[in-house]
């Protein structure tokens, strides 16, 4: 089908974008890479949007190490994240994620900020940022604010972004010595949304495990993390299966997703330790 947009405006900078959103009478919609939004518009899942195109705001694109953090601009594209040397050094989890996200032509346009703001429960980047304990940077009419990843993802396609705000960047802790990351998922075909997926981050302070595509938002698997920190692998698998509440749909049943999550954790731990199953 064909999209039915209410209007289009191209923002020169973040201040201009915020002005445009304020003028849109609640119909404002931020357009970044458009790889989910334009698909939704074409299917008329979203109509009458007043599109605020932020995709040319150069300040929002790029990766840097600043103030002891890895800062990734919201408009940094998936393909760029996959090849950026700073991301490879400090957030290899994101590089692993890129290989699972859609297809090459979509990775050329899609942005990390768009992925986080869209908050698809099956998407990889939200679960990665949650596993890494990242911070989401927002800018609105009242100024800037920061939201911890733990508080950012609210529900299906719902985040802590308030009306009139724009996601500008993500910051992540720098990689510490000995830190390891594994992202693992199962999908029916390459580039499909995962039936279930996991991010595992191992730091000196302990493990962080997140699961995606097993509920309305990425899950920080606290019980499984606690078992892993205690060295109880089998207990962690049981705990993970107990603390997620996956949906049944045409792709997979809840029971299958729950089973799969446990299998994926076992495989991820093998990848982490280098031991074979």
């Amino acid at each position: 089908m064909k999209a039915l947009a209410g209007g289009y405006a191209r923002a020169r900078d973040v201040t201009h974008a915020l002005d445009l959103l304020a003028q849109a009478d609640g119909m404002g919609r931020v357009l970044a890479g458009g790889q989910s939004l334009i698909a939704a518009m074409n299917m008329r899942l979203s109509t009458g949007d007043m599109l605020v195109d932020i995709s040319r705001i150069a300040d929002l694109r790029g990766v840097a190490v600043e103030d002891g953090c890895l800062r990734i601009g919201a408009l940094t594209r998936h393909a760029d994240i996959g090849t950026d040397p700073l991301v490879a050094t400090h957030a290899p989890l994101l590089v692993q994620a890129v290989h699972h996200i859609a297809h090459a032509a979509i990775r050329n346009r899609g942005t990390i900020g768009g992925s986080l703001a869209h908050a698809d429960p099956a998407a990889e980047f939200p679960a990665c940022v949650l596993a890494l304990g990242g911070t989401i940077h927002l800018q609105g009419p009242e100024g800037v604010r920061q939201v911890a990843a733990e508080d950012f993802f609210v529900d299906v396609f719902e985040t802590a972004i308030e009306e009139g705000e724009i996601l500008t960047a993500i910051t992540l802790p720098l990689l510490e010595a000995g830190e390891r990351h594994v992202l693992i998922e199962t999908a029916r075909r390459s580039g499909d949304y995962a039936l279930a997926g996991l991010c595992v981050v191992k730091r000196a302070a302990g493990h962080r495990v997140t699961a995606f595509s097993v509920g309305p938002r990425p899950v920080l698997a606290m019980a499984a993390m606690e078992r892993l920190d205690a060295g109880d692998t089998a207990g962690a698998v049981d705990a993970l299966r107990a603390e997620i509440d996956p949906p049944s749909d045409t792709q997979a049943s809840a029971a299958y997703r729950r089973h799969l999550a446990g299998v994926l954790l076992t495989r991820a731990l093998h990848d982490l330790t280098g031991e074979t199953a």
Binding site: A3, Y8, A24, L31, I38, N42, D53, A105, I106, N108
Partner: protein
Amino acid sequence: MTEAFRDRIDIALTVNGEAVEGRVPAGRHLIDFLRLDLGLTGSHASCEHGVCGACTIHVDGQAVRGCLMLAAQADGAEVWTLEGLTETGVIRDLQDAFVERNALQCGYCTPGMLASIKELLDMGGVPDRATIREHLSGNYCRCTGYEAIIDAVESVAKARAGEAAA
């Protein structure tokens, strides 16, 4: 509607090396602009939600989904469709290999396939079959002629690598 938002947007871009201007509705995606407004029907529209890959074109040197980019966003861009890629001869060897290997049946997916493959071949080297398959995972062929397509890509990659080494 406020002054700032437009429901028709004036754009100026380069398509297949030629300067083009147009006035497009806000919701018009790039592939419809190319096909319906400019009459460049070589690149195809199909699923229109980014799944099938038939509309793959090149924008500013990268393969993108023509249905997942608004024409309004292409202002100032350099766009190449199958017509331009054909006329400039940059994928002639690939097109010949498609014919030789019978790598198309109905042909509907072919323009998108060729645009995606061009990006892979431009990276240089000889990708293995798994890499070719992965790169084309977003291009659906409903005649399911995938093996012949991969054969064609592999043969062109080898031939180009051979020429580069010679």
